[in-house]
Symmetry: C2
Subunit: 137 residues, 2 copies
């Protein structure tokens, strides 16, 4: 068990926007969406979720931990693939219901071996949709 705890949401002083208290807002499933971006390039790498324990472990270890909704378990990013994320900076947004992780990404971020998970563009051909893969994503 981790000892890291965050400010309870109902205990923040002032508005969520301007406070310097860190009071992350987890959703009804106890999760918060996390956007990982690349330190070197600023590129959007992936979107995943953390519960409070994953966020605490990320802060304590300096490596990205997430909550797998499909497997219902904590996972250390890259634990099996080796494609770890070293956390350079953690940010939160105006209403503190999302997290940005600025990371040094080892290898590709996506499990499909691509640098980013966002490797397909939505194309609209008169209401007919398709996805076009980006070669260098």
């Amino acid at each position: 068990m981790t000892k890291t705890t965050f400010t309870p949401r109902d205990a923040i002083c002032g508005s969520a926007e301007e406070t310097t208290d860190f009071a992350p807002l987890f959703n009804q499933d106890g999760l918060i969406p996390v956007v990982a971006t690349d330190k070197a390039t600023g590129q959007l790498l992936m979107l995943a979720y953390m519960n409070a324990e994953a966020l605490a472990k990320t802060i304590e270890t300096g490596e990205a931990w997430y909550w797998s909704r499909s497997r219902s378990e904590l996972w250390r990013k890259g634990a099996s693939s080796g494609n770890t994320q070293t956390v350079v900076e953690i940010r939160t947004d105006c209403d503190q219901d999302a997290i940005e992780l600025i990371v040094e990404q080892t290898g590709p971020a996506c499990h499909t071996k691509r640098k980013s998970c966002f490797y397909r563009i939505v194309k609209n051909d008169g209401g007919e949709f398709s996805l076009q893969k980006v070669e260098d994503a």
Copy 2:
């Protein structure tokens, strides 16, 4: 009512990762998280949510529409502030449960008048957390 519809999730051919069918996965509330990034700089601007209608309106109009969870209504980004988002590209991720909007942002993206909603860094002083504002965010 919009006429735009997407491929039903259970009708996609092959895996969500490699298909060229656009079959966005909305959560149990009918929402999908959307990350807006700046076309010119790649900077992460904000994270918000769309329902199917907001996504359809975004595609049809070329301007970003979201679903406000607090107000339970569709909103066109910038409708009151003027800080609209012109959509340059729409992407989806490997498992098609998140959207990236690459936008030309008019004015600041954040309602606090900052360029990005992610303007605070989480600081950890021996287990005591605080948020430090980034001056140029």
